[in-house]
Amino acid sequence: MSLRIEDRERRRAWALLAPAVLWTAVFFLLPFAIMAAMSLWQKTDDGIERTWSLVNYMTLFGNPTYIEALFNSLEITLIVTLLSILLAYPLAWIIAEEVPERYRRLALVLAVVPFWTSYIVRSYAWSLVLAKQGVLNTALEGIGLPTLDISNSRAAIVLGFTHFFTMLLTLTIYASLTQLPPNLRRAAADLGAGPWATFRHVILPLTAPGIAVGAFLSFALCIGDYVTPQILGGGNDLALPQLIMLQLGRRADLPMVAALSIVLMAVVTLAYLVVARFMKVAR
């Protein structure tokens, strides 16, 4: 009888899991397998030659420009992720700890507002702000300060990205902060810990999962983004997604596009493994 119940529960579990498994298989694993296979084919003058080889990967890792694009992407993404954490933590702390409860919801809504606009609109808005004769420089001139020349640069890309991902991280860190039981802080104080020691040894470790999840999301979204570097970088910094678009749009070299995409996915997977290890959820 008990076996029958276990069987029934197992079947039920599989039935519940089936849509998600099917979805993942059809819309992730299958396209991924096709992309992986295509990365081993070659583009020729007559189309795509479907013979297996590592030519695309050898070209990719043997071309300094491609490697530079990969490192540009990594550098931009790591700077953005780090800056976003540094800005988001105090912001989340202020919302969770300092803002009166009745205004907290409003503060969160304000944090979420950037998500309501598209990447393109947000990036063009930043380009208008940072332009030579844009909002920022007009304001600086107005108060007698020297103007900044950061439009069409890596600084502009980092700024545009950081604006968005700070808000994303604020939400994940805020969620961690509000889940902390208040008596942990009281216990730490009872044991003689000052505010800094309490933060360092109690609050920060307990909110680390929120930081890690937000940081991973920021990393994955940032390294794969094409629009922001294209609009704010002004074609002065070649990142990996732009290289992928060049191969797709100019050369129609789908096998090389697939190889570059696999490398991009490998980088994101590595980042996930680091985060998973950090959170001790790696199996």
Binding site: L238, L243, G249, R251, A252
Partner: protein, 361 residues
């Protein structure tokens, strides 16, 4: 890139959709499909003022997908099913490539306005293969230098090599399309675009890298136009009438010039897909675009202005429009401009490698 269905703005969408649904249910889908024409085009064809008269005349919907650069177009075609597309707009120099790939169908020469086409735009070497015409020029212009005359003068632009000398550091933008800009630099270096070889590329790359050191930005048509129109830059390398002509009324200070060394002439051609399911309607579209009215509308498209290939458009364009297009100066311009480079596969790959390094620099 976007797919645009202009019927959406015409108020008859519901009727068309209902008809399509009923027809599909009753097995009449082929008749409904015959009412839609699918065209792969440059952005100037997406102006409703150009497309709507054709749609109204023939009672059809024209579905347009825009692309920029032949590579992008071929990529879209490779990912499409045979019969998906009816009309192709493509760089004139790339027509042989499209014919060789079996993309284009022969056109009936006697039904096309060859008698009024500007002679330089006939381009038989590009459009006719084994005695068959596969495409016809529809619009042309120059990749040269656009500038803001409030800040720099035409005399400043006379010597093209000054662009990469550092004289205009931080004051110029570059149009992000490797063929015209590399062709232009080749002209500036005294090379013939038609004779470009892989061995010429190091000198072109050196000039390009020097140009990048002076460039504020590198962008597509819209970004480049925005950069010069907003004052972000004073000079656009690779620009021309397609950047400034449409803005003549609002921003008369935007000008363009062909430097002493010359410039590159671009031209776009139109043809019918070999596997089009409605070649007759596609041919009608080609004929409409080449008609004086179609040519005038195409020349003054909201995306970018440029010269029509059919001189008969002059009977439809206003004097003001013809002045903005510099109609009277075309003979002199045509004499001083060389065609886009038409690289073979090896040279094309090498040019794209150079351009990638230029972007990464």
């Amino acid at each position: 890139m976007k797919q645009t269905r202009y019927s959406i703005t015409k108020g008859d969408l519901n009727l068309k959709n209902t008809t399509a649904a009923l027809a599909l249910l009753t097995g009449l889908s082929s008749q409904v499909q015959a009412q839609e024409l699918n065209a792969l085009v440059w952005c100037d064809h997406t102006d409703p003022a150009l497309i709507e008269p054709f749609e109204e005349q023939f009672g059809v919907t024209v579905n347009l997908k825009e692309y920029e650069g032949t590579g992008a177009g071929l990529s879209i075609i490779e990912q499409s099913q045979p019969g998906d597309w009816d009309v192709l707009v493509i760089d004139g120099i790339d027509v042989p490539r499209a014919v060789e790939a079996g993309i284009l169908a022969p056109l009936p020469k006697d039904q096309l306005p060859y008698d009024t086409l500007f002679p330089e735009l006939v381009m038989a070497d590009n459009h006719e293969i084994d005695g068959q015409v596969y495409a016809i020029s529809e619009k042309f212009g120059y990749n040269t230098v656009s500038f803001n005359s409030d800040n720099v003068s035409a005399a400043d632009m006379a010597d093209m090599t000054r662009l990469w000398s550092g004289d205009f550091a931080g004051r110029l933008a570059v149009y992000d399309y490797y063929l015209p800009v590399m062709g232009m630099i080749a002209v500036g270096l005294g090379l013939k675009t038609a004779d470009l070889k892989v061995e010429d590329l190091p000198a072109i790359e050196a000039a390009l890298i020097a140009l990048k050191d002076s460039a504020e930005s590198v962008g597509d048509i819209v970004s480049s136009q925005t950069a010069i129109a907003t004052g972000e830059v004073e000079i656009l390398v690779g620009g021309g009438e397609f950047v400034t002509a449409g803005l003549t009324g609002e921003m008369p200070q935007l000008d363009w010039v062909i430097p002493d060394q010359g410039a590159v002439r671009w031209s776009q051609s139109i043809g019918v897909f070999a596997d089009s399911k409605q070649p007759d309607l596609a041919l009608e579209f080609v004929k409409y675009i080449l008609s004086p009215e179609g040519q005038a509308r195409l020349a003054t498209s909201s995306c970018y202005w440029a010269m029509p290939a059919n001189s008969a458009a002059g009977t439809v364009l206003t004097d003001e429009q013809m002045r903005a297009l510099r109609w009277e100066d075309q003979a002199a311009y045509l004499a001083r401009a060389q065609l886009y480079p038409a690289p073979d596969a090896e040279l094309d790959a090498a040019m794209q490698d150079v351009w990638t390094r230029f972007l990464a620099h």
